[in-house]
């Protein structure tokens, strides 16, 4: 109850309680002291009275003057508090009693030890009666304490009145005294309430005292300044997030959305208030759920995810292509508490790419048809020329034309495959085939393209693999044309096969210019071309190695490279051996 009441009430009750206790103790001590001194004074009073009466009655006792004894005792009438008295003679017999009417039963039959004591709300005493050093008898006296109690009652009443009066004064004083303490506290409280209700952090609390509360006010105002500054910073950051064209959202580690910017509202169709606090799975299409779960797992390990191409579902169930960057969010102690997700809507870009791919596919397809018939006619012409033993120039020209058309077919096939790949329409036709025959065929074709290089193969016999024969041929062809291209001074190119751990390892080694360490990683990206002055003249689209890597990826394999600048490169990959 005390804890709930205001500081004002607490201070006042502290003052009042202290004063009450002090006053009560003081009054009690005073009353006790008065009681004891009353008792002493009653005893003194009664014993003096008894001594006088006893002294006066000595003759009456000595000379057995009963009437005198009575008269002397009757002198006690002036003292109404004396209830009874009596005189005993020397032998201890009752000689005279006071008052006359008192019953003998109320008088002790024999005198007791001299002295006074309090008993039964009365003071009882036995006083010796002496004359000239000889004892003549004893006097008994009994005094009630009515007077003392009356006085004590008066005292109690006075003390009570005084106490009430003093407490009233204390109360009034405490009302006055608590004011300088509570007024600034209440002003402070009002100020704080105004700030918390109106969220106006530019308000400052007026400092009214120089004490602890003054420094508290100072500190609080300082804190307000800091909050204002921080709010400004937060506001700027929030403005950046809000005005971003890319949806930026934050989630907890459980995938609950905690913030949602304007761009997110525009892109995904959900308003901030309807999605915050709900699961991020609301915008994840069913087929991407496993991906989101994996992302959450990676976040918990503190890893970030960059440039993930994925899909999201809007409120209207429209699928969006997005590019996602996810970074873990840490609290002030460095503990991961969630993640920020910046998405970029790449649906249009994707569509554009798709249109481009469709265009490439269409163009390639359209180019392929005339090229195929051109090549057939060239081959027919070449066969006819050889049959008729024609002029060597004609045969040579037709042979070159044939090789060039073949090369062109390969290039168009590459483009077609690229377009299919981009659309995700690349399909493998897995068959079991002899590696030896494919390698022989491709090496033969490649050797046609060059006179400076000697292309050989080894150890490929009796290896059967399960793969898409045509596409693996394309892989080998691309690796060989690449090797030819980057060995401008000629030299040997070797295709080698090996078996390692139930896999067929196929490698293509050249003695060309080699590849810088920095380039080795990016080598297999689409349209990537090594920047090198020496190689400026070398033609190519930069799609060859990308196709190699993608085709092998579809096979569950991976293209790898070992190279040293100036000493040539070795590309290798593995294929599954066909089970007999």
């Amino acid at each position: 109850m005390i804890n709930k009441s205001s500081i004002q009430a607490k201070i006042m009750s502290a003052i009042l309680l202290t004063c009450t206790i002090v006053l009560l103790l003081l009054c009690s001590a005073f009353i006790l002291f008065e009681y004891l001194s009353y008792k002493k004074s009653v005893k003194d009073n009664v014993s003096t009275l008894a001594r006088v009466i006893a002294g006066n009655s000595s003759a009456a006792l000595a000379f057995e003057s009963y009437s005198d004894a009575r008269e002397i005792l009757n002198g006690l009438k002036n003292n109404p508090h004396i209830e009874s008295a009596c005189l005993y003679d020397a032998s201890g017999h009752v000689f005279a009693v006071y008052p006359d009417t008192i019953s003998r039963k109320k008088i002790p039959p024999t005198p007791q030890t001299d002295g006074y004591k309090f008993s039964d709300n009365a003071l009882v005493g036995f006083e010796p009666v002496r004359q000239e050093a000889s004892r003549l008898g004893t006097m008994y006296i009994r005094s009630n304490l009515d007077q003392m109690y009356a006085q004590l009652n008066n005292l109690l009443l006075t003390s009570g009145c005084l106490l009430v009066g003093l407490l009233l004064v204390t109360y009034l004083l405490s009302v006055l005294m608590q004011r300088p303490i509570t007024r600034p506290i209440r002003a402070f409280k009002d100020g704080v309430r105004r700030i918390s209700e109106e969220h106006d952090y530019s308000v400052r609390i007026t400092q009214t005292s120089q004490d602890e509360l003054g420094s508290l006010t100072d500190a609080f105002n300082h804190m307000l300044t800091q909050i204002e500054l921080q709010n400004e910073t937060i506001g700027k950051l929030a403005a950046i997030v809000e005005s971003s064209n890319d949806p930026i959202i934050s989630i907890t580690l459980e995938g609950i959305i905690t913030s949602w910017n304007d761009a997110a509202e525009r892109t995904f169709g959900y308003a901030a208030d309807e999605i915050i606090g709900k699961s991020v799975f609301n915008i994840v299409p069913d087929e991407r759920r496993h991906e989101e779960a994996e992302i959450l797992a990676r976040l918990q390990r503190g890893e970030s995810v960059e440039h993930l191409e994925t899909q999201r579902l809007t409120k209207n169930n429209r699928l969006l292509d997005i590019l996602l960057t996810i970074s873990p969010v840490k609290d002030q102690y460095g503990k991961i508490i969630g993640a920020s997700k910046i998405s970029r809507d790449i649906t249009e870009k994707k569509q554009e790419e798709r249109r481009k791919n469709d265009f490439i596919a269409m163009v390639s397809h359209e180019l392929k048809t005339p090229l195929t018939s051109t090549r057939s006619y060239v081959q027919i012409l070449l066969a006819e020329a050889r049959k008729r033993n024609s002029d060597a120039f004609i045969i040579n020209a037709l042979t070159r034309t044939d090789v060039q058309t073949k090369k062109m077919t390969h290039m168009i096939n590459d483009f077609l495959n690229l377009a299919r790949l981009e659309e995700g329409k690349l399909q493998l036709i897995l068959r079991v085939f002899e590696l030896q025959t494919l390698v022989e065929e491709i090496v033969g074709d490649a050797q046609f393209l060059t006179k400076n290089h000697k292309i050989s193969f080894l150890n490929c016999d009796h290896i059967k693999v399960k793969a898409d024969r045509e596409k693996i041929g394309q892989v080998l062809m691309n690796l060989l044309t690449n090797a030819i291209k980057y060995s401008p001074k000629g030299g040997e190119i070797t295709v080698a096969c090996a078996i390692d751990n139930q896999k067929a390892i196929i490698s293509v080694r050249d003695q060309g210019v080699g590849i810088k360490q920095a380039d080795q990683q990016k080598l297999f990206e689409r349209f990537y071309r090594v920047e090198n002055n020496e190689l400026r003249t070398i033609s190519g689209f930069g799609i060859g190695l990308y196709l190699v890597a993608e085709i092998l990826r579809y096979h569950g394999s991976k293209i790898q490279v070992e190279s040293q600048e100036g000493f040539g490169s070795t590309f290798y990959f593995s294929l599954d051996i066909a089970q007999e």
């Binding site: 000595s58 009456a60 000379f63 003057s65 000689f95 000889s134």
Partner: protein, 179 residues
């Protein structure tokens, strides 16, 4: 008081009945004289004598004339002291010199003899006491008389002053005084 007295009398009667009469008659005077004996003894506390002689000189309670107390009074004062002086009882004949006594109980019926005794101790510090009716008139200091069966006293302070005796006001208070 009367009841108590009655008790005592009853007790005494029983004693008389129980013991051989001659033994009792020897030691105890009538109750009246027992009281008077006690009073004589008590005077030592309420009266001041100017001088009591030096050393161990005794304080003398004298009995002139017929002795009504017998040995009772001797037993009463036996071993008692007045200041430093031992109390003794001395019995005088009419011809004895009574000037050395301090309290003198005069028990003579003849007023002339009584006057002669008083004349003998006149102006001496002797407290004269008697039952006789004209005693105060004759110049005595304290006279016992009976009132409703109680022993009472009559005192003449002037006579006491003449005898250089200081009588306690308390004693005067309970006695009848004759000025």
């Amino acid at each position: 008081m009367i009841i108590r007295r009655l008790h005592i009398i009853l007790a005494l009667a029983l004693l008389l009945f129980a013991y051989p009469q001659e033994i009792y008659a020897q030691s105890k005077p009538p109750l009246e004289y027992q009281v008077k004996a006690a009073f004589l003894f008590n005077f030592t506390r309420f009266v001041r004598w100017p001088s009591l002689g030096g050393g161990n000189s005794p304080f003398v309670i004298g009995i002139a004339g017929n002795d009504p107390f017998g040995s009772y009074i001797d037993d009463l004062v036996n071993g008692e002291r007045m200041g430093g002086h031992p109390l003794i009882v001395h019995r005088y004949t009419e011809s004895d010199d009574m000037s050395n006594c301090n309290i003198l109980f005069i028990n003579v019926a003849d007023i002339q003899k009584l006057k002669a005794i008083l004349a003998q101790v006149q102006n001496l510090p002797v407290l004269t006491v008697s039952d006789a009716d004209g005693f105060i008139k004759a110049g005595g200091i304290i006279r016992f008389y009976k009132d409703e069966n109680h022993v009472k006293m009559e005192i003449k302070p002037a006579a006491a002053r003449a005898a250089h005796l200081e009588v306690s006001a308390k004693l005067l208070q309970i006695a009848r005084t004759d000025n």
